[in-house]
Symmetry: C2
Subunit: 366 residues, 2 copies
């Protein structure tokens, strides 16, 4: 994968970075309250809006993706607010836990691991509820390799409620289309180390007019993630708090590159490499965990043969082939492996990873 014999890092983030991006991450520090930063922030803001096809506000926060999910919650909800939490895996559950931590009245609608949210069940559930303040869910469940049908889901939610739509798109945004305005999404949360070809350190959110109205009513305590501070400082071309400059430097470059490439081309590229991964896994006789209709374009979850020691499998793949795959989490631990294919990834990276899996499976089952 590189001249320095680096491992082929195929976990679903942090994504491996090409040399020119690594060089940017290692750039000298600048004054984050100076004109150079203001210029960067301005360009990043415009380009991020282009990727999200939105006129809504967008902000850059120094935190992991979980911080962005918390930003969505604390800026729009108040204790006692009724929330419908649609859960198809570990990250959807985390989103519910965040809302609960801030005392929202969280109602869970859960689906089997490997499945996407069922639109009819969502519709039925919303029909049976009143005064739902927000519907929250994970777009792309990287723990199961499943993408929820975001456009259709938003349509059903808007038809059946006046609820805000808060979306954890940490592992999908930048790799698959999210038409924030057309689909009416109030807050989208994502993070630099995923499809954005950057190191971890910066999370990003979009924030709609409806979200701002909810902000005005929110009594949830907040400070570091208080979106008003980000807005006040954005107006003077500054961050409210010292930002993670290495990820800012790379994000600025990545966002410009995506816009230059054309976002349709970026999304097409992600679709293609995902299909290549799925085809490759099937060609090895392996079964995907997700329902194929909802298989993710940023990470593929593949079932391991029953009875196989999943932990030993991952360790051998790394030891013998210098390939780092993702494992299964919680109840899926040892039962699946995951191949990340977001951001900068070439077919040869995938082929090498699948070859390593194939050879290791052979050696473990022969």
């Amino acid at each position: 994968m590189s001249s320095q014999n680096q491992p082929n890092l195929r976990i679903p983030g942090p994504v491996p970075l090409p040399d020119d991006v690594l060089k940017l991450a290692g750039s000298q520090m600048i004054n984050h309250r100076g004109p150079e930063y203001a210029d960067m922030l301005d360009r990043m803001t415009r380009n991020l809006k282009t990727v999200f096809m939105t006129q809504n506000d967008v902000y850059f926060i120094t935190s992991s993706g979980t911080g962005a999910m918390e930003t969505a919650v604390v800026n729009t909800l108040s204790p006692g607010d009724k929330v419908l939490s649609i859960i198809i895996g570990a990250f959807g559950e985390r989103f519910a836990e965040i809302a609960e931590a801030y005392r929202a009245d969280v109602n869970r609608l859960s689906f089997d691991l490997g499945q996407a949210a069922d639109l009819d069940k969502v519709r039925e559930t919303l029909k049976g509820m009143s005064n739902v303040k927000a519907v929250i869910f994970t777009h792309n469940e990287s723990s199961t390799g499943v993408s929820n049908p975001l456009e259709d889901l938003c349509k059903v939610i808007h038809e059946e409620s006046d609820a805000l739509i808060l979306v954890d798109a940490v592992s999908s945004a930048g790799g698959v289309p999210i038409a924030v305005d057309a689909w009416g999404i109030d807050v989208v949360a994502t993070a630099s180390q995923k499809s954005w070809i950057s190191p971890p350190g910066i999370s990003m959110v979009t924030f709609s007019e409806e979200a701002w109205k909810a902000y005005g009513e929110s009594t949830t305590p907040k400070y570091y993630l208080d979106i008003q501070q980000y807005e006040d400082y954005r107006k003077i071309g500054q961050p409210p708090f010292t930002p993670c400059l290495p990820a800012i430097f790379t994000l600025e470059f990545a966002l410009q590159s995506m816009v230059d490439e054309g976002i349709e081309n970026v999304f097409a590229r992600h679709h293609e490499i995902a299909q290549h991964t799925r085809d490759g896994a099937k060609a090895l006789g392996l079964e995907l965990l997700p329902d194929p209709k909802f298989a993710s374009n940023t990470v593929t979850a593949i079932k391991l043969p029953e009875g196989l020691d999943g932990k030993a499998f991952l360790a051998q793949v790394t030891k013998n082939y210098n390939v780092i795959l993702g494992g299964g989490q919680k109840s899926l631990a040892g039962k699946i492996f995951r191949v990340g294919h977001m951001g900068w990834v070439e077919k040869s990276h995938i082929d090498e990873a699948l070859k390593a899996a194939e050879e290791t499976l052979k050696s473990m089952t022969s």
Copy 2:
């Protein structure tokens, strides 16, 4: 300052980084849930304890320093808790605002800009209060170049109360001694882009047994900054959330370097360069803002001649000399300039900065 003619960045953080550190910041991504990260976290934890002379727990969080200050507040306080907030400048005020945002009953004890906290007044104030849950303050007020007498302050607080001591040491820790255990400090907050010779992205906290007791009673909502999550994951050698790897790579190196150099030597080095800066400013006939007894060893605040256009001064220093100085904040805007000297800094950096200030002042007043 470097072969690439980089600006001489003399703001009080982010600090400029030497080439070997920049190279580390541009290292390839790794699996943050793998053995390599676990090894790093273990070493960093041990070395950070050494620098803080403590047996208390220490944690690494992906946020700015303000996130670490918020971590101190949300994990130890509950709404209604009585807090004494000692304020000598902008960052002390911020700490009070964070506690207020989370509904603590904040009592402010403020001192004039340029002064440290008066120990007698702190004693007197505490004598007049009961049931103080926590005393919070900024150790080194980078907005005024003043360091509070931390050891003495802790002594007075312990003599007059059972309050927790929560210290914002964002811009002092790593450059000046903070004997967490000997002085009985419950939470210290700091951040990577200051004396730690790293880019911004990671904040750090220490957490005492008393702080853990307070955690058990705290009803403040929290999730991303919930210290229990950091503790639970530390036990398995992982971060709870994807960490800012560039700053982790550099911090691991910087902490090891500090321990190898000997922390007394690190502190002596900071004292020496600070004295060099103060002497240099005085030699130019300029007056320091702070009371000399409490002048900071990480940043020097210098008064501008009355009537001078401070904004134009900073702009000219940058334009004509490629030196970036800090300005004054809020009521000090235009009245002072600040020279950062924490982390990696040589006398030539300071001399160059002071020379630029001198020449610019000459040209503006002639």
